[in-house]
């Protein structure tokens, strides 16, 4: 995606800076607007060719649970969008092991391939970031 910057004309100085961004998702989808808002910001960040990581902890792991069907509640099911992130060069998705386990979930219950990290590994990942965005 080097040629595509979403129509934004980037000059020499700014185009050379790649920062490590992590989006921390901690809330379930549908009950609040946080999950959808996070996804929108993540998609925007893709236009700027940054080093983006998506993190799912606590109830955030429910965002990528398989089998969501929102017809009866009359809301938009945005879970398929997580599978499209790869096409925007967002390929680093991390899930905390403890969050999955305390909800009776496993990696097989998720709509996208993720890397499962322990709390300690997650702490290190967060510590390495230049920018952390919390949702």
């Amino acid at each position: 995606m080097t040629e595509s910057t979403g129509g934004i004309d980037m000059d020499e100085e700014s185009s050379g800076t790649v920062k490590k961004f992590a989006f921390i998702n901690r809330k379930a989808p549908y009950g609040t607007i946080y999950a959808l808002e996070s996804l929108e910001v993540v998609l925007i960040s893709a236009a700027f060719d940054q080093d983006v990581s998506l993190v799912f902890v606590d109830d955030g792991v429910y965002q990528i649970k398989k089998g969501q069907g929102t017809k009866a509640v009359g809301m938009k099911n945005f879970s398929p969008a997580y599978r499209a992130l790869e096409g925007y060069d967002i390929e680093k998705l991390y899930v905390e092991k403890e969050s999955l386990e305390s909800r009776g979930l496993t990696e097989d219950d998720l709509v996208v391939p993720v890397e499962v990290l322990t709390s300690e590994e997650m702490a290190t990942l967060m510590d390495e970031q230049d920018v952390v965005m919390s949702f």
Partner: protein, 100 residues
Amino acid sequence: MLHIVNKSPSERNTLDACLRMAKKGSTVLLIEDGVYAATKGNTAESKLKAVMAKDIHVYALWPDLEARGMQDTVIDGIKQVDYPGFVDLVAENKNVQSWL
């Protein structure tokens, strides 16, 4: 009496408050993010099973379960209702407490 809980048990403590104050013979309805409590493996599972054994009836709103992809993991003994069923529960009970 009907008790309604709409928040995830790992997000708020409203389910705990509800279960502490729900009397024998009363009904608890889980809606919105509250339905996560009704799923197998959730940390709330043992708490719900304990109150169900004490003649407290637990329901979950299936449109909310389905929206969240949790329709296949509901704890045995929890009854699922749709929107008309929700209305029936409200009509059948003499009063309602929403644990917001």
